[in-house]
């Protein structure tokens, strides 16, 4: 009981932030699955979703704003794919990754310009920010809602991947890009859908994340984005359940590290975890080994 009393707040915080990382990580893992691209701009799409919410809420009602934010993220994501990734699809992999880094740089700097470099306060969503007590710990409602919502969304996503035609096409493309296109699958459509799902989930993640940590500045997306990516690698990049599991592990571990006084290393710890997993099982928890073709 004493243990729980001490550690419950950290675990709760870890689960909440883990769920939010999970929603971002799905975007990374799916895009990587299809395009073999670390979409470095994904974290910034997440940040922009938060930023747009700040501007929308001043004139529009909450629910409309949330829907618009999700739409915005989807449009932003697919546009980036069309402009910055699609033309480079046949180029060497390094070029497309550099393009992703360039987009990330642009999104951050544009946010810097729009906000004037100031931190914006995320609008209070009463439902999410209400304080609740669980045993000895007091926390925000969003902490409780996040894991359930995350798991629900992931369940829906897995159903989609498993049982719909587009889901099947996605699996096929992730298996073998070229053969799939020869088989008559519309690759562009699959990629667009992937970005739609990834960015939509990131937008939902941004609502949850920024309701919990209410400051948004141009760099707000960088660290969560990086951690979500690590979560995706941890779980075996390409695997949706793996990414979710990885995200929860990283969220909880990070908070426990902070709780034990190693606060200097709370971010670095994520990377230590990453390097350990890459050394022990380079393909992550759920990833599958494969063979280089000679």
């Amino acid at each position: 009981m004493g243990f729980l009393h001490t550690w419950l707040p950290y675990i709760l915080a870890g689960i909440a932030v883990g769920g939010q990382y999970a929603l971002i990580a799905i975007g990374y893992t799916m895009v990587y699955g299809i395009l073999r691209l670390i979409n470095f701009a994904h974290g910034d799409i997440f940040m922009w979703s938060g930023l747009i919410m700040v501007y929308l809420i001043t004139t529009l009602p909450l629910w409309v704003s949330i829907v618009l934010v999700i739409l915005f993220a989807i449009i932003l994501g697919t546009t980036i794919e069309k402009i910055a990734y699609r033309p480079l699809r046949t180029a060497p992999r390094m070029s497309i990754m550099i393009s992703a880094i360039g987009v990330s740089y642009l999104l951050q700097n544009f946010a810097l310009y729009i906000t004037g470099g100031l931190t914006k306060t995320y609008p209070a969503i009463a439902l999410l920010q209400r304080a609740v007590s669980i045993g000895p710990a007091t926390t925000k409602m969003v902490t409780i809602i996040t894991p359930f919502l995350t798991i629900l969304l992931v369940f829906l996503l897995v159903m989609l991947i498993q049982h719909t035609k587009i889901g099947m096409a996605m699996r096929a493309v992730s298996r073998d890009f070229e053969t799939s296109s020869l088989m008559g699958i519309d690759i562009n459509r699959v990629i667009t859908v992937t970005f739609v799902i990834g960015c939509g989930l990131a937008a939902i993640g941004s609502v949850l994340f920024f309701s919990n940590y209410t400051g948004i500045n141009p760099m707000s997306g960088a660290m969560p984005g990086l951690k979500a990516f690590v979560a995706a690698v941890f779980g075996g990049i390409g695997s949706v359940p793996g990414a979710v599991l990885g995200a929860f592990v990283i969220g909880i571990a990070e908070n426990i590290v902070k709780g034990t006084g190693w606060t200097t290393f709370s971010d670095a710890f994520t990377f230590v975890l990453l390097i350990i997993i890459l050394m022990v099982k380079p393909t992550g928890l759920f990833g599958e080994k494969d063979i280089d073709k000679v």
């Binding site: 470099g117 931190t119 940590y213 141009p218 709780g259 670095a268």
Partner: protein, 389 residues
């Protein structure tokens, strides 16, 4: 073909840039004051508020008479991005724009980083709200018009101890000279008084303060001392409310900002800060600057959306007038002459109290204002004047 376009573009850029830069600088009737402040990054909000004070001062007093000649005063503003590595080039940029004196910065880290640049160029600089002792300690060119962290730390420790707090949780940001320094001086003073402390640091770009608040509760502290940037402050206040922190949050001058009052409004938290200026201390100034801001929507945006005054704005205003006095005393706009005139300068009639410099170039200040946030109205209420003894 491609190469040609790129190269000609580059050449064009280079040439025009030279022309563009070379064109300015020989205007006889203008005197330039360099403003070395962050407009982005961690301290962007504070930096902008500080610049507002200077701009307002410039609007009410746009000229200065040196000898018998009247000069127009022009502010040359450069963004140091709250980043120590960008600060050096930003400072060099200012120096190269033929300014006569530099004002700033808001934060200590960038000022320390730029000190050598100013020193090499023989450029006098007046720190506005950079409170870390290292800014002026080894730099003859740097002066400042605010109090110092050892003083502020002691004041805060005294306040805490006098109000029955015995165990303090101190949170600073990694790599931030201001918060690390102030926490250090606070801890020293608080321990001397017989208090007990728990110290922690959070990394750059951190936005999750849940665990730090939980740590403070776990350790059973009486006060949460976190003199960090306003960005982090809003997040800390938020978490304190969410987890029912149950102890007052104590901070230094950076927190004297409408960002904090905005964040704390309607929340069940107690926020106490020490600062340079209390709104209402000089009604004429308050009224003037508010009217000025209301005319300019950009100014309101830069002030964070309303006209609530931050102490740094008042300090910025004062810095501008100190600079004008320095010109008058020097009788010249040559940086070397201004530098010679500064040590013996005495300026009165400022909003944050008279300014004179001691041997290291720091202003002689003996009192700080203690303010508490009224969470129902979202404004600051004056508590007391606190001294170091």
């Amino acid at each position: 073909m491609k190469k040609f376009t790129v190269l000609s573009l580059i050449l064009l850029l280079a040439m025009t840039a030279f022309v563009g830069c070379g064109g300015s600088g020989s205007d006889e009737d203008t005197i330039r004051i360099g403003v070395f402040e962050p407009a982005s990054g961690d301290n962007g909000a504070g930096g902008k508020q500080e610049v507002l004070g200077m701009q307002y001062a410039n609007s009410i007093q746009p000229t200065v008479e040196i000898g018998d000649k009247e000069y127009n005063v022009e502010l040359v503003i450069v963004d140091n991005e709250s980043d120590n590595s960008k600060a050096v080039t930003a400072a060099q940029n200012l120096v190269s724009k033929d300014v006569s004196i530099v004002l700033g910065s808001y934060g200590s880290g960038v000022s320390i980083a730029a000190a050598d640049t100013f020193s090499e160029a023989g450029m006098p600089a007046i720190g506005v709200s950079c409170t870390n002792p290292q800014v002026t300690a080894d730099c003859d060119e740097y002066f400042r018009i605010c109090f110092l962290d050892p003083f502020q730390g002691t004041v805060l420790a005294n306040y805490a101890y006098e109000n029955g707090m015995r165990k303090a949780y101190c949170l600073s940001k990694l790599g931030d000279d201001y918060s690390v320094g102030l926490v250090n001086y606070f801890v020293e003073a608080f321990k001397n008084l017989g208090g007990e402390v728990v110290q922690e640091q959070f990394p750059d770009k951190n936005s999750d303060f849940t665990s730090y608040v939980a740590n403070a509760k776990k350790a059973g502290c009486d006060v949460f001392f976190s003199p960090v940037s306003t960005e982090a402050a809003a997040l800390i206040i938020d978490q304190a409310e969410a987890q029912a922190l149950g102890m007052p949050i104590l901070a230094g001058d950076t927190w004297d900002s409408n960002v904090i009052t905005g964040a704390a409004k309607g929340k069940n938290v107690e926020v106490v800060v020490t600062t340079f200026y209390q709104e209402g201390g000089n009604p004429e100034f308050d009224k003037g600057i508010k009217a000025w801001m209301e005319e300019d929507s950009d100014a309101i945006t830069n002030n964070g959306g309303n006209t609530d005054l931050a102490a740094v704005t008042a300090l910025g205003h004062d810095a501008y007038f100190v600079a004008l006095e320095a010109f008058k005393a020097a009788g010249s706009k040559d940086p070397a002459d201004v530098l010679k005139a500064l040590p013996s300068l005495k300026v009165t009639g400022l909003v944050c109290g008279d300014v004179s410099f001691n041997k290291t170039g720091d202003a002689n200040k003996s009192e700080a204002f203690v303010k508490r946030c009224d969470t129902t109205t979202g404004t600051w209420e004056f508590v007391k004047k606190q001294s170091a003894n």
